[in-house]
Amino acid sequence: MSVSLVLVVLMAVLYASGVYLMLEKSLTRVLLGFLLVGNATNLLLLIMAGRAGLAPIVGGDVTPEQMTDPLPQALILTAIVITFGVSAFLMALLYRSWRLSQGDSLEDDADDVAMRRRGDTSIANDEADSAPADSEFGADHADAPSATARGAAPDGDRR
């Protein structure tokens, strides 16, 4: 199949601009980058349809060979709506983030940063000592077991 060079170059430009924006810290720019990448991807699907043709509507004397491939079109149509849904979600995120922190920049995750700072000093030496207690029954209720006796093992941390 043949390729339309203009579309391919345009797609590359859209991808590059979109990715550039998505790597930013500003959530607004990330969102815009997402939209550009979405458009670029739809363009990729369109390119896969091959040569431009007539609208895929049966009727008259249009043969299937003359139509633009309808399969990528169905995919693109789905993709357009999903892109809208996801970008609406991102906008809501953007607004929420603004309300909470009065900023739209993506900060590094505090827990991860803390983990990085802390290094491995946080790994506690919490090994179980290998010697189990010397009884499953308390010494004091050997002969007079009561309903509660089993529960109160001497080491206290049994149950």
Binding site: M48, W98, A131
Partner: protein
């Protein structure tokens, strides 16, 4: 056998709920299952002893030639007897050991029975993969049983340790089993053993299998987990750590020995590790003060002993090994059960704190003494018979000049001396009177509690007297080994005065000597204890793994979204780029454009996209991105995709409005971004991704050589879908499932938007204007023409809620336009839905048009107007839409057709002429509603709710 396995599974599931009714009597119910299995095993005994096998097979995954095969031969028969017999007795014992009030009693009973089932499955499985499944099941159940006291840290740590060690070994074993199965072309265990493969690969495979066996049976260097596992309740120790689970490794060695004993290193590895384990275990057992730990280390020692003998691989050694295995199962579980009774009576297991228990509990002392005598190898017990057989077998081979035979013989003799010593120490510790320790109080011994250990101990005694019968029963296993020169050994209580008897006597004397000098032995041990042990190595390796995990996490989890995305993209560029470099299918034809307008549109879009990356103001950037979207629409239109063009332009409008709604709260300028060094890096990544994608597109298109399947779609759409718009029919009919998936995504996104803005609930609180009331006042106003010339505040309203807005926010032009177009837009949207089947349009476009009509109402009249225009909750719209779509998919099922099958009706309708209705239109109506729901959700969240929040903020300021 397979039916029994099912019974194990089913009963263990119903045990926990039944426990509430039965209390600890639940164990009686539980014991019935292994008892049934025991009876079944006994019943097939004559067949097995007569040299036959019992095989049951059910196809499992026929494609992989896997089947659930259970097979009983002499070896698995003996093991099955031990597993089911001891299992039944231990479960019976549990009913006396535990109290009704025990925490998690039902869970414990269920798991213990499930373990018994897994163990039974393990010994009867004849498929290596089935064997592996049971193998791992026993590990998992053992983890749960050791960790029974969930509140105890020791208990949890020990459980985890046992699990890690045994599953690690199990995984290594799996590799070995896979290698063997591939090498021999069958996964049937019996066939692999019958025709063992040879060569380096087979040796490697067998060694890997041995790693699994040794880890399971707590052989050096994996021996440390077993003593720690004593944190389990004592019945668990008696069953898992004496009779069953730790025997799994021994069983596997015994199973493989007939085929693989002559494999290089097999005998050396097993004898050396076994002797080491036996000596280390016996020596540390002498140091323990907890009776249960004396037994635990003793068990480690005995497992080493068993490994030496079972792995030795001569006919006589095999017979001796199987006899020893049987003897050990009987005496060791007796002893563990006895420790449980001691613990019950004395309230401690510390042998320094118990005194004079022998007089208070004579029956217990007798039972224990019988078992200890069997362990120490005293006649006339079965332990003695087995040990004699071992000495003779090893001596015969050693006398034939096998060096490894001498190592084994000396090792097990020394180990046996230690065994005698700790047996004596155990008896002394549990029952003797000690000076300075208070005597035990009087005890009433309970028959039910003592019955299981007594039965086991008496079996050990009885088997000694019927040793020749046992010989007949189990020699079928040793006959699978090649015949050695001379006469085969036979089990008997009395073989006359022979060398083995002398060795026995010597070990007895040495052991008693060690016991006599126990104070010195303890001193010696105290001085010799070193800091390095397998257990500390385990813990330090655990810590290392934790540290490594922390370091890896802090290295890779930077917490920065840009970093993650960058890594993903770089990997994408490298991997896909590398694949592209090796590509050979380049397209044959390359043209500049399909039509010249493409170039013009492309240049505008490209410039807009690049400019968007440089834009300093939010709105500027949004508009520039919008330009690319509208450009897309133009491209679609010119490319012969009217549906796409329509949908795209509508989406662009709605997106723009949504953006404006959000951006009004944010400052106009975009914030400071990365530093310049990052900017360069980002640009490089971005350009690389763009280039790779360009090449991907070219290559992908070049790879397309066949005719597209969509050539038939036109025909399909017209005949089957009864529509001429191929794209629309594809969406609602041909590829309806894809659309269904998409609807779910849209609904999730819409719900996400709503829940991010409405923090507390899904439903909004849009003010609902009573429509009739509003309409009445509107009409009344319009009639009074003087209002038109009135002052600003009382200006007439063209919309229902028009007067709720502040006058400076109102636009008369907008109100009029919206008033005039709203209903028309709604009609158009409905038209698009129904016409979409045959002309450009459809549910998506229709829904977006209706959404835009709502947008207009909101922009002109504010949130009250939106409430008046859309009196339905967005969530309901989404729900009804999805229900319609799903319904269209499901209804055909009731007529025996495939899901989403469509049909149509047509006819002449008065005034409207010829009409036809295709059922897939209902699907499209569902899509229509979902899209309206999405737009409405965006409006009421980002629009109305944000307004409300602004108003409240304004009011509080």
């Amino acid at each position: 056998m397979l039916a029994l396995l099912v019974a194990f599974a089913v009963v263990s599931v119903v045990l926990p709920p039944l426990t509430r009714l039965l209390g600890r009597r639940i164990f009686w119910v539980a014991a019935l299952v292994p008892l049934a299995a025991f009876v079944h095993t006994i019943a097939v005994g004559p067949t097995i002893i007569g040299g036959g096998t019992v095989v049951e097979a059910v196809p499992w995954i026929p494609e992989l030639a896997l089947s659930l095969t259970a097979r009983l031969d002499v070896l698995s028969w003996v093991l099955a007897l031990v597993v089911t017999g001891v299992g039944a007795l231990v479960l019976l014992y549990c009913s006396s050991y535990f109290r009704d009030s025990e925490d998690g009693l039902g869970r414990f009973a269920g798991i213990l029975l499930a373990f018994a089932g897994a163990m039974y499955g393990l010994v009867v499985a004849d498929d290596v993969f089935l064997l592996f499944v049971f193998w791992e099941l026993t590990s998992v159940f053992s983890y749960l049983l050791i960790g029974h006291y969930t509140a105890s840290k020791t208990s949890r740590g020990a459980a985890l340790q046992a699990l890690l060690v045994t599953t690690l070994g199990g995984l290594v074993m799996l590799v070995g089993l896979v290698l063997l199965a591939v090498e021999t072309g069958t996964s049937r265990l019996s066939e692999i053993i019958a025709t063992p493969p040879e060569g380096a690969l087979a040796t490697t495979a067998v060694m890997l299998v041995l790693v699994g066996a040794l880890s399971k049976s707590a052989i050096v260097p994996f021996h440390f987990w077993l003593p720690a596992a004593m944190a389990a309740p004592t019945p668990v120790s008696a069953y898992l750590h004496a009779a069953a689970m730790v025997k799994a490794g021994i069983y596997l060695i015994a199973r493989f020995a007939p085929g693989f004993a002559e494999v290089p290193l097999w005998r050396e590895v097993l004898v050396i590790l076994g002797v080491a384990t036996m000596l280390i275990g016996g020596w540390t057992a002498l140091r323990q003060t907890d009776l249960k730990l004396v037994l635990a280390h003793g068990t480690v020692s005995q497992l080493g002993f068993l490994t030496v003998v079972v792995g030795y691989g001569t006919r006589d050694a095999a017979l001796a090994g199987l006899a020893l295995l049987l003897a050990h199962a009987l005496f060791k579980s007796t002893l563990f059960l006895a420790v449980g009774v001691v613990d019950h009576h004395a309230g401690t297991r510390d042998l320094r704190k118990i005194s004079g228990l022998g007089r208070r509990a004579p029956l217990l002392a007798i039972v224990t003494a019988i078992a200890l005598a069997s362990m120490a190898g005293l006649p006339p017990l079965f332990g003695f018979v087995a040990k004699e057989a071992v000495f003779t077998a090893l001596l015969t081979d050693a006398a034939d000049g096998a060096l490894i035979g001498w190592v084994a013989l000396v090792g097990v003799a020394a180990g046996s001396a230690l065994t005698v010593a700790y047996s004596a120490r155990f008896f002394w510790g549990a029952f003797a009177r000690k000076s300075g320790v208070a005597d035990a109080k009087p005890i009433a011994e309970k028959a039910g509690f003592l019955l299981p250990p007594a039965l086991l101990a008496i079996s050990g005694l009885a088997l000694g007297f019927i040793a020749p019968l046992i010989d007949t029963a189990i020699s079928g296993y040793s006959r699978t080994f090649p015949e050695a020169g001379g006469e085969s050994y036979h089990l008997a209580l009395w073989h006359g005065l022979e060398p083995a008897l002398a060795i026995s006597a010597a070990t007895l004397l040495a052991g008693l000597g060690l016991f006599w000098q126990r104070a010195r032995v303890l001193d010696l041990q105290r001085n010799a204890v070193s800091g390095v042990s397998a257990s500390t190595m385990y813990w330090s390796s655990m810590r290392t793994i934790d540290r490594l995990a922390a370091r890896t996490t802090s290295l890779t989890q930077r917490g920065s979204l840009a970093f993650y995305l960058g890594v993903i993209l770089v990997v994408f560029v490298l991997v896909v780029g590398a694949a592209l470099v090796t590509n050979r299918t380049w397209p044959t034809e390359l043209r500049l454009w399909d039509y010249p307008a493409q170039l013009a549109i492309g240049v505008i879009m490209g410039v807009a996209a690049v400019a968007a990356t440089r834009a300093g103001k939010r709105f500027q950037a949004v508009v520039l991105v919008g330009v690319t979207g509208i450009g897309m629409s133009a491209l679609f239109a010119l490319q012969g995709a009217p549906d796409l063009a329509l949908t795209q332009i509508l989406v662009e409008l709605v997106t723009l409005v949504a953006f404006v709604l959000v951006l009004r709260r944010l400052p106009a300028r975009l914030g400071v971004t990365h530093t310049s060094s990052h900017r360069l890096l980002r640009a490089v990544i971005a350009i690389a991704v763009g280039l790779v994608m360009a090449v991907v597109a070219v290559v992908a298109l070049g790879a397309r050589t066949d005719l597209p399947i969509s050539l038939e779609w036109a025909e399909l759409a017209f005949v089957q879908g009864h529509g001429s718009n191929v794209v629309n029919v594809a969406l609602v009919d041909l590829r309806g499932w894809d659309t269904m998936g998409e609807l779910s995504v849209v609904i999730a996104a819409a719900t996400g938007v709503a829940s991010l803005i409405f923090i507390s609930g899904r439903t909004d609180d849009l003010p609902r204007i009573a429509r009739s009331e509003a309409r009445k006042t509107l009409r009344a106003r319009r009639r009074r023409a003087e209002d038109l010339s009135g002052d600003e505040n009382s200006r007439n309203s063209w919309l229902l809620a028009g007067r709720t807005l502040a006058p400076r926010n109102r636009s008369i032009l907008l109100e009029v336009v919206v008033r005039l177009t709203f209903h028309a837009l709604i009609v158009v949207s409905v038209y698009l839905v129904f016409a979409g089947h045959n002309a450009p349009g459809g549910g998506f476009a229709g829904g977006l048009v209706a959404g835009l009509a709502l947008v207009g109402r909101y922009l002109a009249g504010g949130r009250h107007e939106l409430g008046a225009a859309a009196p339905v909750d967005a969530g309901r719209l989404l729900g009804v839409g999805l229900t319609l779509s799903v319904g269209t998919a499901l209804v055909p099922l009731f007529f025996g057709a495939d899901p989403l099958t469509s049909t149509w009706v047509e006819g002449e309708v008065w005034l409207l002429g010829h009409l036809e209705f295709v059922t897939s239109t209902v699907f499209d109506v569902g899509v229509y509603l979902v899209v309206i729901g999405l737009v409405l959700d965006v409006l009421r969240s980002l629009g109305a709710e944000v307004d409300r929040q602004l108003e409240t903020e304004g009011a509080t300021k």
